[in-house]
Subunit: 475 residues, 3 copies
């Protein structure tokens, strides 16, 4: 058999892109396709992510294909870097656009994205958003670049138009506590924009004394709120800003930490550490303790003001100091490590775990906690919900492993619904579509195995896509 | 396509309940069905569980469907609680039966059990024990309640009759060391009851000085045995009670611990800690050390008296203090955490790991130890056997993951056989049936992949169901 | 249905050995078979293993089937031991060969190897190397022994002939730093032997002061190299030996450690510990710190001399002291434990992680690190490559789990290629064949799911088998 013939045979067997991620087994696939069809056109509810509100306020056309799809996405740039591409070629130090040269780098490294989540998002974005079926190669690179570039100049590809054509109903941004949220206010008051763009309160840098900007940030916090520079004033200032977010439609507060280590230090000890933190005098252990205490305080505030608490622990940020110093954070070298919830989150749950209306969504990049800790916690505490597989785990196989790990203990109804957590706006429909396909495939298997009745499967997939995110995020 | 039509299509594709848990692929399913058929009617050997001997001694009809199937099963009540049901409605504080109202709560929350192990047990119990195919809904709740209730009043549903019709050959209970075991003696001497009901020695609370009842329990232990209140006397007293259990047919001693931390303190230091433990004077670290030493002493006793040692580590009990204070233990908030065997069990294996006749069965709720630690340990030490997937992992997908994790290192013959570990007597046949189906499905795949010969697969599944539990538990 | 009939039915459904490990689903299998066929006859590149160069220098016939296939393979003997075989029967203390008696022990325990990796290697070695399809039983044991024994006496089964007929292109051995490597030199200069047999620098015992032979080994190291007995001299001596290995074709240095704990102690502190280590005066913690520092020094040397650094952490060696004392190391009781890379390897990557030409291959026996740590590290650092699933994980199901765990984050091109890591020379073709089949099956599924294009799949499997090991190991 010649190589040519083999490839033809292989090609004849591949399924249509419309059937992507569907199970191969015919009986299971039939059920999965019906389940998927029932939610394929459901609105997109995106209660946690990193697209900016400014994008929709300005509503100007996107820059160029490279900036839009390559250099702004550190999932893509990190894999290029791993495969030998110099960041200088993606982020030129003279500030010039990486442009077509970087696009050709992507093309020449495209085979290295095969099988990855990033490769899947990009491939589907090419196909579904831009209608490009041709594979990206060095030969096709210019053609594809031009095809995307010319579409980006048209009115259908401006941010608001895409927001509508993607069927986005709600999109949450992630914001600094001192953000004035004017972009959100403008969008809310703009009668021509019917989507909901909500802010999310993300106070990490204001809670962690080991953050180099901590002292300055707290200065600004007090300045903005007019609260006293005491621990009590600091808590009130944070409450003020949460109230500001709530007034602008926020439904959740997001907490990204390294080690999860929630502790109740008591008001006196916390106040003492606060005073010394303001002078930059805490040891690493004290900083960690203070941050752990502040997560508890955030829980207390959520129990009062109703902001859903989302917790994203277990990532060592900026692993490569040299890269961080030259290119800053979010440049691809945040590396997960083993995470522990059972003991570490207990002080929080002891205090607010049974409080009516309290919602806590737990995310993990350490898969081992899904069956061992998160599902059992969410399988008892009414306040605890299981976050969608996050970051490195937001991918087809990892997504199925997630469902297999949590469902037998917690069922489907302790889940937050899918969360895209992305700054790549164009990948949002493909990400939600992937989640729907995976859930359809997973449910179809359970139907075939006699573990879920067909009528239940139909209800469940609809609830996963629409009911649960609305309920869990109080939308 | 209307919703109605879709559901009909889905319904037409679902397999018969008789084929539940069988693989969808036709070739694999054919082999799995043949393997399953060869053990479907094998007797049930249940060497570890939580049904009481009193149930069979009294042999009175079960109370009512709610008490039998809902409120007595903390796997069921915890998921209701997570989904917003107040424990007060399941365990009324005035002591009144939860009754039909709680049954309706189950019905209205039934969709939240889809895909869970508990949902599967209940669904199969309805179908296989009570012949009810109809799905539990708020509309069908009364009908199903009545159907079960009327059957429970008949002679075929009294405990001994079910013991026989389920095909139970051996059933082990779990007992306090001071239990007189009279119920077991009565059953043994009752010519009309042919099953074997064996006690299991469970000394946890007598080995852990941090248990609030420790001092009082040891008082009673010495009082009952007449041994001196010294460390040596304490060891002798425990040996006395083990002898009492052995006389009543016990084959194993069960050890449930939080952190597994076996240590040899030496007799002198252990005696010193014992003296202070009797006065309630140990620190948390000393309590843990003493308990770790006592596990080693239990191993020494097992090496002498032959009781199989089963070890169940890695669960933080009573995670929610408020729930514990109001409803007690075993109320759904025991949460697993990361477990380590390799170093922690070494002192025990150094001493008795190569002792002829010594049997140690290791259970885990942390799946990561299956391929990493338990299979390698059982793949060398003749004394170490791999316990069935336990608690949160006793479910279809987790069961297959378990087989995939341990078999390539340890094969099938280092396994303890299935253990139901349940207090839900009516779910016992369904649980064992599930294990047989999963093993059939797993073996069928290995046959199809050319990794196990068909004749071997037939032998293996028979050995898993009958030979291994008899051998490992010395039945 | 009688047992006989059932077995016949089962037998009729099993696939041909040529289709072993292929997926059952017809569409996926078709693609997998085409992919596999494209690399089935590719040369074997084995850049890390434990076969000796002396075997090929001497090129004398293998001893006997028992020594060749049973007693020299501690994967096989450990499982016999677990199932009750006395090591005395496998390694007689009078030094006599274990012979036919041990072969019969294997036969009578053969069913206990069903489903294991070792069982698969042996079964395939019987079939593919010796042409024996018959199953090993007590009845067939003598026949199979004789069939193998008579073949071993023929010229086609001498080591060099097998090297050729197996299609081995490169085979790396593992060597003590003081090995003169004469065997390698002889093979290199022998015009009648065309294969490449390369040494690997394995300095573990020279870096770990807690090793009982440390002081004596360092004595010999200095004696051999003539370097001064100072920390600086010690580093130079190690560099001398690395140079010697490089001159003899070595491409990598291998580092097997228990806990991975790389630390930069600074030259002064390291020198101080060295001085005391030479007198055997280090505490356990100091030994560990020194070893951690020396791994960093090895990294620095690799950055200079180009030897690929392979790291194999996370195994507690010689778990059973009694067995170790009687039978030595590598006797089946090395047990893995939880491993952590993210923080522990950071000092090394901070220093050489971005150095051009630096190659570090990370291996794990703790599967949890694949998706959590190793893939993210290899998905950013150009120097980090993902090692093949190792030891207990070098097996069909574990191999697929590995691909599923790493690919979505790191793709296929951050992988080292397959590594057999074996001392069982006859199993080498079967091991590489297994890896090719698993990769074909995995890629076929991605093709069917629309995640990898057929043309890409063809390129990827070829690169996995040939391009990547050559590139990663600088062959």
């Amino acid at each position: 058999m010649t190589a040519q013939t083999t490839t033809e045979l292989l090609d004849s067997q591949v399924q249509d892109n419309a059937q992507r991620l569907m199970p191969s087994d015919a009986r299971t696939r039939g059920i999965a396709e019906e389940l998927y069809a029932s939610v394929a056109d459901s609105p997109i509810i995106s209660p946690h992510g990193h697209v900016s509100a400014e994008l929709f306020r300005l509503d100007v056309p996107f820059e160029d294909p490279t900036e839009l799809l390559v250099t702004s996405d550190h999932y893509v740039t990190r894999l290029l870097h791993a495969n030998g591409v110099d960041y200088e070629d993606l982020h030129p130090s003279d500030g010039s656009p990486a442009g077509k040269r970087a696009w050709h780098l992507l093309a020449s490294h495209w085979h290295e994205f095969a099988g990855t989540a990033s490769g899947y998002w990009l491939d589907q974005t090419f196909r579904e958003v831009f209608g490009i079926e041709e594979e990206l190669t060095e030969e096709s690179a210019d053609r594809i670049y031009s095809a995307i570039d010319s579409q980006l100049r048209g009115p259908a590809f401006r941010p608001r138009a895409l927001f509508d054509s993607f069927g986005v109903e709600v999109l949450a941004t992630t914001n600094d506590p001192l953000d004035d949220l004017d972009d959100h206010a403008v969008l809310r008051d703009d009668a021509t924009f019917t989507g909901r763009v909500l802010p999310t309160f993300r106070p990490d840098a204001y809670l962690d004394p080991s953050d180099p900007s901590f002292v300055e940030r707290i200065d600004q916090l007090h300045q903005r709120t007019g609260r006293k520079d005491t621990f009590a004033g600091y808590l009130l200032a944070l409450e003020d800003r949460r109230a500001h977010f709530l007034q602008h439609g926020a439904v959740s507060a997001d907490h990204g930490v390294g080690e999860l280590r929630i502790r109740d230090l008591g008001a006196e000890r916390a106040a003492e550490l606060y005073t010394r933190a303001r002078r930059g005098q805490l040891t690493a252990a004290e900083s960690s303790a203070f941050q752990g205490h502040m997560l508890l305080e955030m829980g207390r505030m959520s129990a009062r003001d109703g902001l859903v608490m989302t917790i994203h622990p277990g990532v060592r940020r900026n692993h490569s100091s040299a890269t961080f110093q030259r290119y800053g954070s979010d440049t691809g070298h945040d590396i997960p490590f083993a995470t522990h919830f059972t003991d570490e989150i207990r002080p929080l749950l002891e205090e607010v775990g049974l409080t009516p209306g309290m919602h806590i969504v737990l995310f993990a990049v350490d898969e081992t906690v899904y069956s061992r800790e998160i599902a059992p916690l969410a399988g008892f505490y009414p306040s605890v919900f299981i976050g969608a597989p996050w970051w490195f785990l937001d991918a087809p196989d990892a997504g199925l492993r997630f469902r297999e790990a949590v469902t037998e203990t917690a069922g489907f109804y302790r889940h937050s619904g899918f969360i895209d957590d992305t700054r790549a706006f164009l990948s949002i429909p493909t990400r939600h579509d992937m989640a729907r396909r995976l859930d359809a495939a997973f449910l179809a298997r359970l139907v075939v195995e006699g573990r879920v009745r067909p009528t239940s499967a139909k209800r469940i997939i609809k609830d996963l896509v629409e009911t649960l995110p609305r309920k869990v995020f109080k939308l």
